[in-house]
Structures are given as C-alpha cells and as structure tokens.
C-alpha cells in the first residue's frame, strides 16, 4: 500500500454524525437494523468508524436516503494493519456480524508494542449509531512461543445464536469465546473454551492452563448452521462440526487441513471452507464446499467453454474475506496478498460461474462491481425491501457498491466532494502521488461530451495525454470514468516524471477548459 500514500489525519472530534461515510476506505458491510439499511465499517484518513446507511430503490439504481456515522477512539480500530499483507487467509479479513441484540459487531484492536494496530482488545458493537466498546480480558494461560504474537489471539469470526442470545467468536490459539447476553446486555456471561482434538469436546479454558496447539488446535473461524444452530469450527487441525450430543466431529475430507474459515448459508444450505497453509514459503490454498448436505469437495472452476480448470484458487493466491448467500448462490469476496487482485467469485450448484473476462471467475471493476480498480474487501447480503435481497460490497478507497439484482448491476456509494459543472472544477484525488500511484481526475460535464485530458509540467510542456476524445456523459455528481481518467505519475513514454507540481487540463468539445493540479514525489527511472 506504499504506492498510495496512506495517511491518518486524525480528526479532533471523535464522535459526530454526518451525511457521509466515515471514509471511502471500507472494510465491511452488514445488514442494518431494518430493511433497506446497512452498516459500513471504514478505516481511512480521518480515522475509523461505522456508518449506518439508509437506502431506497430507485428506478435504475439504489439511492442513499441518509447516513449516520460514529468514530472509534483514535487509538483503536477494527481493521488490523496486516489485513492485506498477512500471508495466510485467517488474518486477511475483517470479521463482522449483525446481531439482533447487540447490533453490528466488529473486533476492537489497539496498538501493540511496535505501534501497530494488531492488539486484540475486545469488540465494538453499535445498534443505532453510537458505538459501544466491549473490552475483553485475555485469559491468563501458558502458550507456546510460536503463538505469542497478538494476532494469534485475535478474533477471527463471529457467530450469533438467536435462540440462546449468545455471541460466539473464535480467538485463534485461545479457542472460542461465548458472550451470553440472554440475561442483559449490560451483564453478559463470558466463557472461554478450547477444543480438545482427541475427544472432540469443548473444554473450559481455566486460568493458567497450558495450551498445547496439537491437542487444542487454534480456531480461526466459526459459523452456526442456520437450521440446526450447531457450531462449525475452522481449526489448524481440520474442520469440526458440532453433533447432537454437543461434542465435535472432524470432517473427513478436511481432517488434515489447516482450515482458515467456514461460512454457512443459502438455500439449499452450502457450507464453504477455506484451507490455507504455508509450505516452503509458499501459501497453498484451496476452497471446499458441501452442497445441500453432501460431502466436502473442492470447488469446481469451469471456464466459459465448460471445461474444468484445476488449482485455480491456489494459483491465483486468493483468500476469502467473506461470503454472502442469496438463495442458491454464494458470493465470495476474494483477494490476493497485498490486494493486487480482488473481486467476487460467484458459486452456483456446479461451482464458480465464469464470464467473458481475462480472470474468468472474478467479478471486479470490469464487471462494474467497483467503480475503480481497487481492493474489494467484503460482501454481504442486504434485505433492500421485503421482497428483494440485495448484495453490497465494501472496497479500499471506493466506498461501497450495492446491487438490487444479485450482482448484475451496481450502484456506487462513496464520499465525493462536489465539482462544478462544465469543467468548472478539476479535482485530483489524491493530489499527491508517487510514480505508479493513481490520481483520479474528477470533473463534471453539463452534456454528453468528448473529453481530452492532458498533463503539463510546471513550464507548460505536455508530458502526458491521459485520454483523447473519449465520450463522457452528463452526471449529477461527476462525469469522470475512474478506471480511465487518472494520472499515474508517468510521461507518455512510461517514465516517472520528476518530482514537482504538474497541471492537468481537461477540455471538452463544447469549448470548456478546466485545470487541476497534482504533485508527484517522483519515482525511479531505472
């Protein structure tokens, strides 16, 4: 992420409500407290927080009715610093859940000993728009040094049992934790358990217990079966599911696998599991599924001709951020390390649904899921009306996208500073880049226009033509096409421009001309 100059410009006011997202850098979307609402988790330049977005279905798109935001404390966040760079799947996601009684829940992370946001401190919950902090004590136990890092004890997944009002979450080497609010939210009963791999029992985690990872495997993810309310556990030593006698059994197909996540939902029920392990400095990953109670099998990736392709998931180096289910389809938010490639993978009863694209199984900016080439960070199914189950995705820098037709068309919702009509304002976002970065040219035309965008040096020599005579439509907010209208700090021959201020001219075919400014910190010409 160093190519983008990420900054934390902390706001002096920690709590406020505003008609905007906390940030366009969003990491989770979840259903809100009522139909047509959703929660958005952001971590951006102005800090971290959540936004409750109320939506309405328009004729051709989803419209925003209102937004209410609340910020986390400046020294805490819900998105850990390694969410894009960690090498195995279990920590390359931001867990979240909407629960009836607690509201929207996400992890709470503080600064660790090296001033990195990786220290688990509990979880946040938000029901209306005000955030509640729930600090959790770390059980005092004896751990092998291999599991001493804070992230080895971080929350990996949430699950909520509506019948018992118990929030479950996995905590890695510390097993799982139950947060029972059946009595009162203000007086929860908290219990910690570790899985006994030998007999499949959940043992209470007693003070000073010595945890042996081979006997009590770390639990990376969990999920509740929507029909049986039985827990499924993704562990370092296989995938376990709860049985009628409350003990746990291993899934045979994944008994030797390092399972980093499990997601259950859909009609008929699909159980999706991800395995991810480091083997000789290479991460080996696979995607598994049980369809309608069948045995677990590797997810099938077929190409547009119907031919089955092998090891697609592993070769692409994907990891799953989250899964949403709508009827018989599953929508997986996937990303590679450092997020260079990300998007949605759609599963039907056969497997991944291909489309006519270079990455046949990935639905990304080319499919209109995002409005610019950035990282898709999560997905959720959102009830938009009583009849329509929508789909929403979060993204790193491009707000959220919402679809009312199961991912066929998308509406993009993000904070956008107003620009004047007829090229009256040209806004470069961001206005400071390094070579290889992207500064979007934001502008607005009053009518359908042919556009030329050029970059000039300080002494007004043209160094780059970004687009020439491309058609842009009139738009209420902006006419820019984010996937094309940006400068990357390079000249027409692909060489990084020298450090300095550059001027961006946008011309239309109706005689309007606008100028914007951008600064590049340069790059290496070798």
């Amino acid at each position: 992420m160093l190519k983008k100059i990420s900054v934390l410009f902390f706001c002096a006011i920690s709590v406020f409500a505003a008609e905007s997202l906390v940030s366009n850098f969003t990491f989770a979307v979840a259903p809100g407290p009522s139909t047509g609402t959703l929660w958005v988790l952001s971590r951006g330049d102005a800090g971290s927080g959540v936004t409750l977005v109320t939506l309405a279905l328009g004729e051709s798109q989803v419209n925003v009715i209102s937004m209410k935001s609340d910020f986390f404390d400046q020294k805490k966040t819900a998105v850990h610093d390694g969410v894009f760079s960690d090498v195995t799947g279990e920590t390359r996601r931001t867990p979240f859940l909407y629960t009836e009684k607690l509201g929207f829940v996400v992890p709470m992370l503080g600064l660790d000993s090296v001033e990195s946001f990786r220290q688990p401190e509990g979880f946040y919950s938000v029901k209306t728009s005000r955030i509640l902090e729930t600090p959790l004590d770390e059980p005092i136990v004896e751990l092998d040094s291999a599991y001493s890092s804070p992230m080895a004890k971080s929350i990996g997944a949430f699950a909520y049992d509506t019948s018992t009002s118990v929030l479950w979450f996995s905590r890695g080497i510390l097993g799982i934790e139950s947060y029972d609010v059946s009595g009162s939210i203000s007086d929860p009963k908290i219990s910690n358990f570790v899985l006994d791999a030998k007999d499949g029992s959940l043992d209470t985690l007693n003070r000073n217990k010595k945890i042996n990872a081979s006997e009590n495997p770390p639990i990376f993810g969990l999920s509740l079966h929507p029909e049986t309310s039985m827990l499924w556990l993704a562990t370092e030593k296989g995938l376990y599911h709860q049985t009628a006698n409350r003990s746990f059994e291993k899934v045979e197909a994944l008994k030797d696998s390092r399972v980093t996540g499990v997601w259950i939902g859909g009609t008929p029920i699909q159980i999706i599991a991800e395995t991810s392990a480091r083997e000789e400095s290479v991460t080996k990953s696979k995607l598994w599924r049980s369809w309608n109670g069948s045995d677990f099998k590797e997810v099938v990736f077929r190409d547009t001709l119907g031919k089955i392709q092998k090891d697609v998931y592993d070769k692409a180096d994907y990891s799953v951020s989250n899964v949403a289910f709508i009827r018989n389809k599953a929508f997986l938010a996937v990303q590679t390390i450092e997020g260079s490639i990300s998007g949605l993978v759609k599963l039907d009863s056969i497997g991944a649904i291909p489309w006519n694209h270079t990455r046949q199984w990935l639905y990304d900016v080319e499919a209109g899921v995002l409005n610019k080439n950035t990282i898709l960070t999560s997905v959720a199914a959102i009830p938009l009306t009583d009849d329509i189950m929508g789909l929403a995705v979060s993204s790193y820098g491009s707000g959220i996208s919402v679809s009312a037709d199961s991912g066929q068309t998308w509406s993009h919702i993000l904070n956008q500073t107003a620009v004047k009509d007829n090229l009256g304002t040209i806004r470069m976002i961001p206005s400071v880049i390094v070579a290889g970065g992207e500064s979007m040219v934001a502008y607005k035309v009053g009518q359908k226009s042919k556009i030329i965008i050029e970059v000039f040096s300080y002494d007004m020599r043209r160094v780059r033509t970004i687009v020439k005579d491309v058609v842009r439509e009139e738009n209420a907010v902006r006419s820019s096409k984010a996937t094309e209208d940006f400068w990357d700090g390079l000249d027409d021959h692909g060489r990084p421009c020298a450090m300095g201020v550059y001027y961006v001219r946008v011309k239309d075919n109706h005689g309007h001309v606008g100028w914007g400014k951008v600064m590049t910190l340069g790059g290496n010409r070798k």
Binding site: L2, T417, V434, S457, D459, V463, A498, M499, K517
Partner: protein
C-alpha cells in the same frame, strides 16, 4: 543577413527534429523558464548579450564584462497560481574579473492537498529555487570565460498533512557547475557557448537520489537534470536610426546519464529567438519565441538623481503566451539598476 537566415533555418530544423525524449518530465524547469522580464520579453535570450542579467544564470562569462556593481529583480505571476522571480547581484573584481550571484524562484501559492479519501486537507505552497554563484575572467577585450556553481533547493510544503509517514519537504541538490564563453566579435556580432548542469560525479551527470521520507515509506526518486549545450548569437544594428538587436539561441538537452549520448532519442533540441527595438529614446519593445512560447516585452531606461549621483534604472514588462497550454501570462515585471 545570410548568416541570420542560416541560423533561423538551423533553429527550424532543430524544432522539427525527433523528440522522443520529453523535457517536461525531467528535472530543471526552474532553469528552463529563465530569469528577468527584460530577457523574457525577447524569448528568454540572454547568453550572448553582455548586458543580460543576472549573468551568473545566463552565462557566467558575461560577468567579465561588468564595469560596476549591478542588481536586478524580477517578479511574475503566471496563470494557475504560478509565481516566479529572480534576483541577482554582480560586479567587477579587479580589472579582468567579475563575480555574480543569482537566485531563481518558482512556486505555486495555491496547491490543494487532497487525500485518498477525497478530503481537502489544506493548501500548500510548494516552491522550487536554484542559486548560482558565478566567476568570470576577461581573456581579452573581446572574450570572457566563466564558471558558475549552482545548487537547487525545493520545498514541497506538504509534510504537515501526513502524520503517519515522515515526509521530507525540503530537498537540496548537490552542487553542479556551468561553463560559459562569450565573444563580442565587433560592435554588431556576439556569440556564446554555455554548457550547463555538469556535476562532480560519474559521467559529469547531475543525477541525484532523493528520499521523500525519512522512514523509507515512500520510494526514493531520482533527480536527473539534463546536460545542456546552449549556443547563442547576437546581432546589433540600427533601423531608422534606432538601435535594434536580434538574439538567437540553440539548446541541446541531453537526457541521458552518460558523458555524451549520440542517440538522437536521448536529445531534445529547442531554440529561442528574440528581437528588441528602441522605438523611442530609452524605450524599447521586444518580441520573442522560446520553443513554443511567444513573448512581448516593453522596457524603459531612466535615471534618478540622488544627491550628486545619477542612479540608472531599467524597468521591464513582459507578456507571455504559453502556446502548448493556451495560457496567457500578462504579469511579469523586472527592474535592474547600476550603483554609481
């Protein structure tokens, strides 16, 4: 006149040469944009004019022709909030030597700092400057040689908006040097040769590495200032009894970190041409073209008597049209004077 026609055709030929190298994306715009409204009005031509100021910038050899202490100031406001200016002081040392100092400045006084989240964090005023210290020696009544040492200092003025990375605003280049020669052949003709941006490093190249952050969170960048060969010619005469002069310069920018590059793709050739005519006593108009930028200038010389001494001044105005960007720049003013 045949000579002028030949030089003009050479300049045109240079102008249409293959330009695969792009000058604008390389370091050195402060130097390329010149100094002094007087010279700007006639196309930024000054290297062959023994009266051009600041001499330390135009051609250090010009300093050898100074007879008294002189100073010059230049300020301009170009469109898109671009400010610029220069100052210079120079004088004679002994009978054959001259010394001079010049500083050129360019900046933008209204740069909006917008973050990735589409928030305007504030307004920065980045600026870029280059300083010259020149020395010259008069070889003969007609010839002078000079050397100037230059160093640039830039300030991006953005670090205050970035809290989690240690951005560095200020950059100071290593010292480079420029060599100059000027010859006043007779009352009419003068010529000059200036070689700019040599450095005390391998291949004599002015190449340096800058690290925009102290914590290495931003990739380092290379400053590559092209070597420049600048050849100038001046011609003075009278028209209707009034002085008229023509000035031409051919510039070769070598965009390569080698001692000499013979690949034409590694060179950018450009030219400057200017004319100046004294339409009224002490009042002149000028026209010029610097690459594709056109300029028009006005100048007037006068004296102010303070006590028993007369203080000569020369005020100038320039109008510049940057044709590639279609920008008019009507605000460029300069003054220079001689201390009696």
């Amino acid at each position: 006149m045949k000579k002028i026609a030949l030089l003009c055709s050479l300049l045109v030929a240079f102008g249409y040469a293959d330009k695969k190298a792009m000058l604008g994306s390389f370091d050195g715009f402060v130097e390329r944009m010149g100094a002094s409204a007087h010279e700007l009005g006639r196309g930024n031509t000054g290297s062959a004019d023994t009266s051009a100021q600041p001499g330390a910038y135009w051609n250090p050899a010009l300093l050898s022709f100074r007879t008294q202490l002189t100073y010059n100031l230049h300020a301009e406001q170009r469109s898109l909030d671009r400010t610029g200016g220069s100052i210079g002081v120079e004088g004679r040392v002994g009978k054959r030597m001259g010394v001079g100092f010049a500083m050129l400045y360019r900046g933008d006084h209204a740069f909006d700092v917008v973050n990735d989240d589409d928030e305007t964090l504030g307004e920065a005023s980045p600026y870029f400057s280059i300083m010259y210290l020149g020395f010259a020696y008069r070889l003969s009544r007609r010839d002078g040689l000079g050397i100037s040492f230059s160093m640039s200092y830039d300030n991006l003025d953005i670090s205050e908006y970035y809290d989690d990375i240690s951005l560095v605003d200020g950059y100071q280049s290593p010292v480079s040097f420029n060599l100059g020669w000027v010859r006043q052949w007779n009352e009419k003709w003068s010529t000059s040769v200036v070689i700019r941006n040599l450095s005390f490093s391998k291949n004599l190249s002015a190449v340096w590495t800058r690290n925009p952050s102290t914590d290495n969170s931003v990739i380092s960048t290379e400053g590559v200032r092209p070597k420049v060969l600048q050849i100038g010619v001046g011609y003075r005469n009278t028209l209707f009894g009034k002085p008229i002069s023509a000035w031409m310069e051919a510039l070769d920018y070598q965009i390569a970190d080698t001692l000499l590059a013979f690949d034409p793709d590694r060179h950018v050739w450009t030219g400057r041409v200017g004319f100046e005519y004294e339409v009224i006593p002490n009042g002149s108009v000028s026209l010029g073209m610097n690459d594709l930028n056109f300029s028009f200038g006005l100048g007037y010389q006068f004296n102010i008597r303070i006590g028993k001494k007369r203080w000569p001044f020369d005020v100038s105005y320039a109008l510049l049209y940057e044709s590639e960007a279609n920008l008019w720049n009507p605000l460029s003013f300069g003054v220079r004077g001689w201390i009696p």
